[in-house]
Amino acid sequence: MTDTERYDFDVVVIGAGGAGLRAAIEAREMGARTALVCKSLLGKAHTVMAEGGIAAALGNVWPEDNWEVHFRDTMRGGKMLNNWRMAQIHALESPDRVLELEEWGALFDRTSDGRILQRDFGGHRYARLAHVGDRTGLEMIRALQHRAVSIGIDVFMECKIVRLLQDGAGAVNGAVGFWRETGRFVTFGAKALVLATGGCGKAWKFTTNSWECTGDGMALALWAGADLIDMEAIQFHPTGMVWPPSARGLLVTEGVRGDGGVLENRDGERFMFNYISPFFAAETAATIEEADQWYSNKKDFRRPPELLPRDEVARAINSEVKEGRGSPHGGVFLDIASRRTPEEIRRLLPSMYHQFKELADIDITTTPMEVGPTCHYAMGGVRVEADTEATTVTGLYAAGECAGGMHGSNRLGGNSLSDLVVFGRRAGMAAAERALEIPGAPEVSEAQIADVTRSATSYFDNVGTEDAYAVHRALQETMQSLVGIIRVENELLEAKGKLAELEERASHCVVEGNISFNPGWHLALDLESMLAVSNCTTLSAIERRESRGGHTRDDYPGFRPEFENVNMVTRLVDNGYVVAQEPKPQMPGELARLFEEEVH
């Protein structure tokens, strides 16, 4: 198995979503010989799913907007856990990155005077999101894809990277992967390597993420000795579809609740009234009668409890399901059909109506939806140095969702697309700078390559009945029910135990069939990544004994001062997962002052 194909490059970028494409473009334009390696076909990455827009303080709609306001919004949204320098760079540079996409052919919606139109989004003080209807991610990936192809970047499609290669001093000098079509192994020698592999949502049962989001980059970094940070910070949406399968993971906008939709358990009880915490009691309707009058008279009546903040709604749904009062498929019912006429629903929620009709053959004007918490985005990821995206391993860089720090404990909508291009570019630049200083070709170790290929193909030699699909289902059930949107210590500890069992089971997976385009084998290898990431998330979630952003601990509600200034760092020590609290970078005084002068 040592007879692998071999390619040498200055810079190898793994992942061809927004961050990977932007990194490769930058590295190539700096003169580095650059390869882009991706698990799917070019242009299919999860970036295409992004709808809302790309956040940048262009000031086209609100001239008052500027980078300082964007920076402050981002830090506040992340509950101040963000790496301040990343948030600053992001806010400063995202306008240039948006204009650059336009220069590469992207067609954003326009203002009446012909500039880029910007839309409002939660957490952003001003209308700030450049967008193209509801398909901004597709627009962005195409612009980047065309640019990458036109400047001659070598793209290796449907090629999965299994492990990184390192020299005697620990610096990354290559990667080993295989062509999904043939199963043939391929070695990339690299003087610098950029991870841009996206998120890890496929470890959860209900997720908006596509099949590729298996945490490969986070796991590759971890196995190479790099640190991950804040892996407990996972963004869930409280109302994603859990049924039918055709629509599973699809987000149901909060607008459905705002327009009259109510949450009910299996007994038809409008359960949110049982979950009004004292903190919100004064502003929340206490009875159904009162709540129902709010929709037509918002002045004299208090808000229905269905419109409590996201985490309150999520906690209520979570409790109903765990106490056995959920819907048949593990969620609760969201009913607007019995609350509004079909005409009203179609008028108020046209895209929701059409989406469900087309994808699921569900008529939301006659049928309640089954919804539950859905995994959407990983704020945590590979620890990087803010200006260069250098990880804690020499020669290894990370950008986009697989990197941590930028979003703190909670990400604002629209900040992910801008994250991809701002930090993709910086990672590509830093990787190229390093690569261009190193003479000669990278010398990779044949022994390391042989180890990787032997280990990756060992599944074909396994005997027994264990199968990757079953282990994946068990992992998803574990993470969904024990490390989901609402967490508590005994469940997290239970998850930790189960993950150890699952790792053992996964190592015994038997792969049927041969090595060419074999999804069972691919899943067995993706499971290695998902299990590594799930362990880090669980350990960090145990360690952060407070609730902050995307991490909600039922046993430790609210912020706690002792966790305010620490990142949860996970790494491998002697092949074991270890978590440590380490101080987060401290914001300089002139930026800290932005949070004192409140401008409400």
């Binding site: 799917s40 299919k44 398909r135 793209v155 290796f156 055709s246």
Partner: protein, 321 residues
């Protein structure tokens, strides 16, 4: 649980003991470049599934090595194109309830592309064509560093940008579906849309008309609209992209007034051949025998016919130059 039905089946397998009369029969193509056959899988129907859900359940319970390409399962990435009961569709957007479930449901790979394995085809032809599209070349920005475009001037371009590159239009285009030999001379509907988008882009300054006529083979299209009919994004490929492009070419090449106009204005001349062939980065799928080899970045990635047929313009090296 799998039941062979193809002619190559040597021994008829036992019908599964737990098969029930209400089970669906999914007839999936299994095989690779060397050949294959349809194979039946019996599986209980479940409420609210799309075709891709059922394929995934078969994969998870009966055929773990069943190859199928998919990503988003929401109609946004264009990966799961296939022919379901002979109709070219996205499997993730085809609800089971729209199919006649009392007869076998046949799923075969797209026919216009070589089989890789099972339902996965080698679509690298499309990525080769993509490299030959002369890139966007915008005019300079306004003095304040911005570009201004009216929404009405980009509506058409935004329609074309909805393309998710599922390649179903390429799959049904009879110019290449039944004539492999035309591929080197013809870009196909997807890339005519791409060229139309560039030609109509308010900021673009390059004139690709001559190139589109001569090298992209637009003349092969005789506007049967098969592409438009299968487009999941409902892009009016023929009416809004190809026909207007054809009209522009006619204007450019056969209109004497336009010809004189080109001589006396400063409109950029049609793209020179060397310009069109400048884009030489390689996009690799798994290289087959004779495919792109190592050290690719020093080699032009061009196709015969579309490439350097005049011998006059040596492609510049891309990467590594």
């Amino acid at each position: 649980m799998a039941i062979d039905t193809g002619p190559a089946a040597s021994t008829p397998p036992e019908p599964p003991s737990d098969a029930r009369p209400q089970d669906l029969v999914m007839r999936l193509w299994r095989g690779d470049a060397s050949g294959g056959r349809f194979q039946d899988y019996r599986i209980a129907p479940q409420e609210g599934e799309v075709v891709l859900d059922v394929v995934h359940r078969i994969q998870a319970t009966q055929a773990p090595d069943l190859a199928v390409r998919w990503n988003c399962k929401a109609g946004k990435c264009g990966s799961c194109s296939a022919e379901v009961n002979g109709h070219p569709v996205l499997m993730c957007m085809t609800r089971m309830s729209t199919l006649p479930l009392d007869e076998p449901i046949t799923i075969s790979p797209m026919r216009a592309f070589p089989i890789m394995r099972d339902l996965v085809t080698d679509v690298s032809y499309n990525f080769e064509v993509a490299k030959l599209i002369p890139a966007f070349r915008p005019r300079p920005r306004d003095p304040d560093g911005l570009y201004r475009m009216a929404q009405v001037d980009i509506d058409r371009g935004q329609e074309f940008h909805k393309c998710i590159e599922c390649f179903l239009c390429q799959n049904v285009c009879h110019v290449i579906r039944d004539h492999e030999e035309n591929k080197p001379r013809y870009a196909g509907p997807r890339f005519l849309v791409r060229l139309a988008e560039l030609e109509m882009h308010p900021l673009d300054t390059l004139d690709r008309r001559d190139y589109i006529r001569r090298d992209m083979g637009i003349g092969y299209c005789n506007i049967t609209k098969c592409c438009t009919e299968v487009c999941p994004e409902e892009i009016h490929i023929t009416d809004n992209a190809i026909i207007p492009l054809k009209e522009r070419l006619v204007d450019a090449h056969y209109d004497p007034i336009a010809w004189i106009g080109r001589k006396i204005t400063r409109r950029p001349a049609p793209l020179p051949a060397s310009e069109a062939r400048r884009h030489t980065g390689a996009v690799h799928a798994q290289p087959g025998p004779g495919g792109p080899g190592p050290g690719n970045s020093d080699r032009p990635a061009t196709r015969p016919g579309l490439a350097d047929d005049t011998g006059s313009a040596a492609p510049e090296p891309g990467n590594g130059a």
